[in-house]
């Protein structure tokens, strides 16, 4: 499915003295099968933005289109199934006595049969490398395990688009790279992923498209190389190095990912492979 935002504005507590305009007219599209990285600092409107993708928040002005149709006209719960939203620190919403039951919550809400629910839970946990945790209490897991189980809880709905809001925040490097790897696998399986983060290196590794938010507005959007080389001061380390060296060695090109950058450097510097 393709999601398009057209001039979306969002004001919290409108009409009071506490009114805050979190989004000031954001237009972007999430293409099927792509990984869209959304980056921006604290208060840039990232979290507000992602909640518009499944209409947990309704735009104050502007439109959200799903496959060209106004999302407001669609069935809300069906939309929420198709666009799975994983909030920041999703492990805070774990509640069931066992991991299995927690992950089963969403498919049960969909009214699936017992057998199908069990199957889905098993598959999803397996996909996230958490199959061995099924019978444990979600409250007795490590931070990284909890995070994966919580993501499984959303994935078990079988969404077409998975939205991850700061999925790596507060995780150790190992759990972090596990998650990045997971995003790669989801993409390979044809899922559309929206990946929100303020870690540029992370986004650079997985994103097909990048959207930079600043103060509730889109500062730049496009292919990662375009966006990052357009403003290398706000780019991942790989781009900063390549951009600095590229001044004297244009043949370096515009690599973004770690692997690409390493290969380009080896080529240009003539190091042994």
């Amino acid at each position: 499915m393709r999601i398009e935002l057209q001039g979306v504005r969002h004001v919290y507590a409108p009409g009071t003295s506490f009114a805050v305009e979190a989004l000031k007219g954001v237009s972007l599209s999430v293409e099927p099968g792509e990984v869209l990285g959304v980056i921006g600092g604290t208060g840039s409107g990232k979290s507000t933005l992602v909640q518009h993708l499944n209409l947990l928040l309704v735009p104050t002005a502007g439109r959200v289109l799903v496959d060209g149709k106004d999302a407001l006209s669609l069935d809300r719960s069906e939309l929420r199934r198709r666009v799975g939203l994983v909030f920041q620190s999703p492990e805070q919403a774990l509640f069931a006595p066992t991991v299995e039951e927690d992950v089963a919550f969403a498919p049960q809400r969909l009214g699936l049969g017992e057998e199908e629910v069990r199957e889905r839970v098993g598959e999803t946990l397996e996909l996230l490398g958490a199959g061995h945790l099924a019978a444990r209490s979600p409250f007795a897991l490590s931070g990284g395990e909890k995070r994966r189980v919580a993501i499984a809880g959303v994935l078990a709905m079988g969404p077409e688009v998975l939205v991850l809001d700061e999925p790596t925040a507060g995780l150790d490097p190992h759990a972090r790279s596990d998650l990045i790897y997971l995003v790669g696998r989801l993409k390979a399986s044809g899922m559309t992923v929206v990946f929100v983060s303020h870690d540029l290196d992370e986004v650079a590794e997985v994103a097909d498209g990048v959207c930079v938010l600043e103060g509730g507005e889109v500062r730049s959007i496009g292919h990662p190389a375009e966006v990052f080389y357009g403003d290398p001061s706000m780019a991942p380390a790989t781009v900063r190095v390549a951009a600095a060296l590229g001044v004297s060695r244009p043949s370096l090109g515009t690599p973004v990912r770690y692997g690409e950058t390493l290969a380009a450097l080896r080529r240009v510097l003539g190091a042994a492979p």
Binding site: L56, Q92, F105, R109, M157
Partner: protein, 263 residues
């Protein structure tokens, strides 16, 4: 945001009432409330009402905040009034219509009770609207401290009050956050009968409780790491000072309520 701005909350503006010592305000409010029960004449209520209205004006808290406070009470006031008017059958009959009889004493008592409740709630609202929760807790602690000799944990009670007040908005935010996360997993908190709705709350209440315990643990650790070990030998950053104007306010309140009671 909506949660934090609840009815009867502290309204941070500058006014003579905000500047008073919280102890003076607590005692004055208590005096006033107790005094109200001795007021039973129309003139007395007019006087007490006028004093309250003057204080509301002096507090610079918008009138809307008080109206919001009174709205839920109005039902009780109306109910009390109707019951008194209909069922108290003493004194001369003012109106008789079928089985409905309104007697003078019933009408009088109905009006007295209605006036009493309205003034009482406004006075209590005046205290919470003009006193920061922390100042209020500090004041309570000071007022309760004589009880420490009887081993009453005045400091601990005040600290618990402060913490509880501080965490109301935090828990509200967390509840909102978790309910949205569960809504994204297909939870439905609105539909269905009472039992279904109560069961739908389980995915909200369990994480909220777990979170509250986690927060309590973290807070305890943070307090201990900053050297907190209870009220013994503890001093305050903001010392409460009982000035002449606080004494004057107390005196004036006592005077006003005394006059109203005698009228």
């Amino acid at each position: 945001m909506t949660f934090a701005r609840g009815v009867g909350q502290f309204y941070p503006v500058e006014s003579p009432l905000h500047a008073l010592d919280p102890r003076a305000k607590v005692v004055a409010t208590a005096l006033f409330v107790v005094g109200l029960f001795f007021v039973d004449s129309a003139a007395g209520f007019l006087a007490a009402g006028a004093v309250t209205a003057a204080l509301v004006a002096a507090s610079r808290v918008p009138l809307g905040a008080f109206l919001g406070l009174l709205r839920p009470v109005l039902f009780i006031v109306a109910l009390t009034f109707v019951f008194q008017v209909l069922f108290l059958r003493e004194g001369p009959t003012l109106l008789a219509w079928g089985f409905i009889e309104v007697h003078e004493e019933g009408l009088r008592l109905g009006l007295v009770l209605a006036a009493r409740i309205l003034i009482l709630v406004t006075a209590a609202g005046l205290l919470t609207a003009t006193t920061a929760p922390v100042a209020l807790a500090d004041g309570m602690e000071d007022l309760l401290s004589p009880l420490k000799r009887l081993r009453f944990p005045a400091h601990e009670v005040a600290m618990m009050m402060t913490i509880a007040l501080r965490f109301i908005p935090t828990l509200g935010e967390e509840a909102e956050k978790i309910s949205r996360a569960q809504a994204a997993r297909g939870a439905d908190f609105e539909g269905g009968g009472l039992l279904k709705r109560a069961r739908a709350l389980v995915p909200l209440l369990i994480p909220l409780t777990v979170g509250a315990f986690r927060r309590a643990d973290e807070l305890a650790e943070a307090m201990e790491s900053r050297g907190y070990r209870g009220g013994v030998g503890r001093v305050r950053y903001r010392e409460l000072r009982f000035r002449a104007r606080d004494a004057a306010a107390l005196l004036l309140t006592a005077l006003a309520v005394g006059v109203a009671a005698l009228l």
